[in-house]
């Protein structure tokens, strides 16, 4: 295995980490205004992700940094090409990040309602945009011989990508509702579970629909960078089992299964893309690959040493945080913030 492949895998891992972790806090952000009937409940819902969401978001920042360092052309083409989508993403993330901090700093219903709406919008927009972006990565976008994206923002919106975006939203809402049922109790927990049941069915339908569309819209079924083998089927089975686990009150397992669905779906996307990182719809030879988009070997070597040293440490203390805050958040808690 060469370093280009290793970095392709590392970036896949960073995106899996981002979707898995921020996936549930996006989902909870979307659900918060609906599941929280009053200010205390909304505070409890936010506190379930309070200590984590910021760290979760760093997975995206790191993925961006790693793309820049390992595959500068990928970073340059993607970020300049999907300009308006990224602008919207940044607006969402800025609003959301500040909202968590500012919301409780002033005890006024109007003030809080405004920030709650921003948390909702700021949590809804990113999964939509990421779903659209991933679908377009697979479908192919107009990239010219100089590696520049020559399409428009509206060119990114098509049935396939919009279904992808909607599926991602639902998957994250499901994932979030299950995290919530793990971290709360009583009535709130019941509500989270019933949302999980309701959303779960729709998520399964939409994901299947997305897979069917993939057959027509992409080359994923005919051309395999790496044969994904049973990975997509396992992803489907994991998603299927969620309904059973919620009904059986195995919240932990249900959450693990949505997590598995997210991870395996992302793996499938990356395996099918391989060794391409962005597909050109104009000419297959103009596609960006892990070779023509990459930094030189020396840079990759340095970065590999850095990553292999730091990533285990980061993982260790992040896992430790989840352990420290493993307790459920009670309605009657002293609510920090």
């Amino acid at each position: 295995m060469n370093l280009n492949i290793l970095w392709f895998m590392l970036i896949a891992v960073l995106f899996i980490g981002f979707f898995f972790l921020e996936g549930f806090d996006f989902g909870i952000g979307i659900l918060m205004p609906f599941l929280g009937k009053n200010d205390v409940e909304r505070r409890v819902i936010i506190n379930t992700i309070g200590p984590f969401w910021d760290g979760n978001e760093v997975w995206l920042l790191t993925a961006g940094g790693a793309m820049f360092a390992a595959f500068p052309n990928w970073y340059a083409t993607l970020f300049s090409g999907f300009y308006f989508a990224l602008f919207l993403l940044l607006v969402a993330l800025i609003g959301r990040g500040v909202a968590f901090e500012f919301r409780s700093k002033y005890d006024n219903p109007k003030w809080r309602r405004t920030w709650d709406f921003i948390i909702f919008g700021g949590s809804l927009l990113p999964p939509l945009l990421w779903g659209v972006a991933l679908a377009n990565l697979m479908r192919g976008v107009p990239i010219d011989a100089k590696m520049n994206y020559v399409g428009s923002f509206w060119g990114l919106l098509n049935t396939y990508s919009v279904v992808g975006g909607a599926a991602m939203i639902l998957l994250f809402v499901l994932h979030g509702s299950l995290f919530l049922s793990l971290k709360t109790e009583g009535e709130l927990q019941q509500r989270a579970r019933s949302v999980g049941l309701a959303v779960g069915a729709w998520t399964t339908v939409l994901m299947l629909f997305f897979v069917v569309l993939s057959y027509f819209d992409t080359d994923m079924f005919t051309r395999h960078g790496v044969d994904p083998g049973p990975v997509p089927i396992l992803a489907g089975l994991a998603l299927f089992s969620v309904q059973y686990f919620i009904r059986a009150r195995h919240d932990g397992w249900a959450f693990a299964m949505t997590g598995l669905t997210i991870a395996l779906s992302t793996v499938t996307v990356f395996m099918d893309l391989f060794p391409r990182v962005m597909v050109s719809s104009l000419n297959p030879n103009w596609s960006l690959t892990i070779y023509n988009a990459a930094s030189n070997t020396y840079s990759l070597k340095v970065m590999t040493i850095v990553a292999l040293t730091l990533v285990p440490i980061v993982l260790a203390y992040q896992i430790w945080t989840y352990w420290v805050f493993r307790r459920r958040v009670h309605l009657s808690d002293h609510l920090d913030y």
Partner: protein, 461 residues
């Protein structure tokens, strides 16, 4: 306007705005960590209340710094894709290391610190805030490694039409970095110090919790004095390095159109005419520029016209002169603000040592608006550094005009520029509003853990 001009505006606005929040975060977190250390070692609850009070202000400020930082990282790809392609091999690495080594550290342990007051042992909780403080410093180090490469490119070879990294060690050992990093970090310490100094002074004038705010004033006074003096000394060393590494920036910051005499005078103020390459009405101090540049009474400094001619020889036809007025005045405002900070630092420390804090009303009144001084110095410092490097993004290697994204339309950049500027404006107002609110509220002395019932009080922090 072209997408180049708009992209430059966006970079300038984002960077300056982001850097309103970052230095305060870095400076303040160290002081909070110190206060909590005192609390843990001396079991004195006042220090805990202090840490919580300043912690609240820190969090309001930190969150804006973080969210604007995301944009800071992304805009290289969005607006400057040709730059990213050209230097990604070299420039991307420190950015990625920054994310891995510090963003995770800061965000994870800050979460623990906020939510862990009742859940972690005192020592673990204290460790968390120290790790956040260390994280901010690591972050500054790596981002300045990337910036130093733009000022003084090292450790690369140009191959296949772009810069490839050839020595990571050279990037880290870059002379520019070891002047720029301490300068910026000490500037951040000063920012935190003057913030604490000003707010403590205001509270002392109002006679609110004098015991706690006297202590924070004392801590801040010492940090303010030490960091202001050191930041000036390092800045001086940096200017001397500039004479060799970026002589054009040096000449522009002095509005020195022609190479100076051997005993070079320093221009205090001047009316600059960039069209005719002349200055009217200059006030000069004889020999001072030689001292500033070489630490001795003689030694000439190269002028803009001579350097322009050299650069045309070296890099081909073109205009290599940065905006001279901006570079000249930003430098002077920075130095002037720094000078005032040193004076105020001395005054504060003297008042503390003589134990005359509460009777020195004039000092307390001046300390409040003086919060603005480090902000002024920081901003002007970056304006000088970045504008003075023009027309280059990477000095001598890549011009700004060749760095911009070729396929992003001016309309697109304008849309995002307006969008972000509006958001920044709103956030700035809200941020200041919240800080003022919390400052007025003062220190919460009733922070005993609430065991709440049907209607729990939602205690701030």
């Amino acid at each position: 306007m072209s997408n180049l001009v708009l992209a430059r505006w966006q970079f300038g606005i984002t960077t300056i705005y982001h850097f309103f929040f970052v230095p305060l975060s870095i400076g303040l977190v160290f002081m909070i960590a110190f206060m909590e250390t005192m609390y843990v070692s001396r079991h004195d609850d006042t220090y805990k209340q202090m840490a919580k009070f300043w912690g609240k202000l820190f969090l309001i400020n930190f969150s804006v710094g973080v969210v604007t930082g995301i944009l800071q990282e992304f805009q290289f790809g969005m607006n400057w894709s040709d730059y990213s392609r050209f230097v990604g091999d070299v420039f991307g690495a420190p950015l990625a290391v920054e994310a891995l080594a510090s963003f995770f550290l800061e965000s994870t342990f800050l979460g623990m610190w906020i939510f862990g007051w009742d859940r972690l042992s005192k020592r673990v909780h204290l460790t968390a805030i120290w790790l956040v403080a260390i994280g901010t410093t690591i972050s500054a180090f790596w981002i300045l490694t990337a910036n130093s490469f733009m000022q003084e490119p090292v450790g690369y070879v140009v191959k296949n039409g772009h810069a490839e990294m050839s020595s990571f060690g050279a990037l880290i050992l870059n002379k520019q970095l070891w002047l720029e990093f301490p300068h910026v970090w000490l500037g951040a310490m000063a920012t935190g110090a003057f913030f604490v100094l000003g707010i403590s002074a205001w509270q002392l004038l109002r006679k609110q919790m004098p015991e706690a705010f006297k202590r924070s004033f004392q801590i801040a006074a010492v940090v303010a004095l030490v960091s202001s003096i050191l930041v000036g000394l390092v800045g001086h060393a940096q200017a001397q390095h500039l004479v060799h590494s970026q002589p054009m920036k040096m000449a522009a910051s002095e509005a020195l159109w022609n190479t100076s005499a051997d005993v070079a005078p320093w221009t205090l103020v001047a009316g600059i005419n960039p069209q005719t390459h002349t200055n009217s009405m200059q006030v000069q101090i004889p020999g001072m520029l030689s001292i500033l540049s070489y630490n001795k009474l003689h030694g000439s400094v190269e002028g803009i016209n001579q350097l322009q001619a050299q650069y045309v020889q070296k890099y081909g036809p073109g205009n290599y002169i940065p905006p001279v007025r901006t570079t000249f005045w930003s430098f002077r405002i920075m130095v002037f603000a720094g000078g005032l900070m040193i004076l105020l630092g001395i005054w504060s420390v003297v008042a503390v040592v003589r134990n005359k804090l509460t009777t020195r009303k004039a000092l307390l009144r001046i300390a409040v608006p003086a919060i603005a001084l480090p902000y002024l110095a920081n901003t002007m410092g970056w304006v000088m550094t970045e504008i003075g490097r023009q027309p280059w993004t990477v000095f001598g290697l890549l011009k700004t005009a060749n760095s911009v994204s070729p396929t992003v339309s001016a309309g697109m950049v304008l849309t995002s520029l307006i969008g972000f500027t509006l958001i920044y404006g709103i956030l700035a107002v809200l941020d200041v509003m919240l800080i003022v609110r919390y400052v007025k509220e003062g220190i919460d002395t009733t922070s005993a853990p609430t065991v709440s019932h049907s209607q729990p009080t939602i205690a701030p922090l």
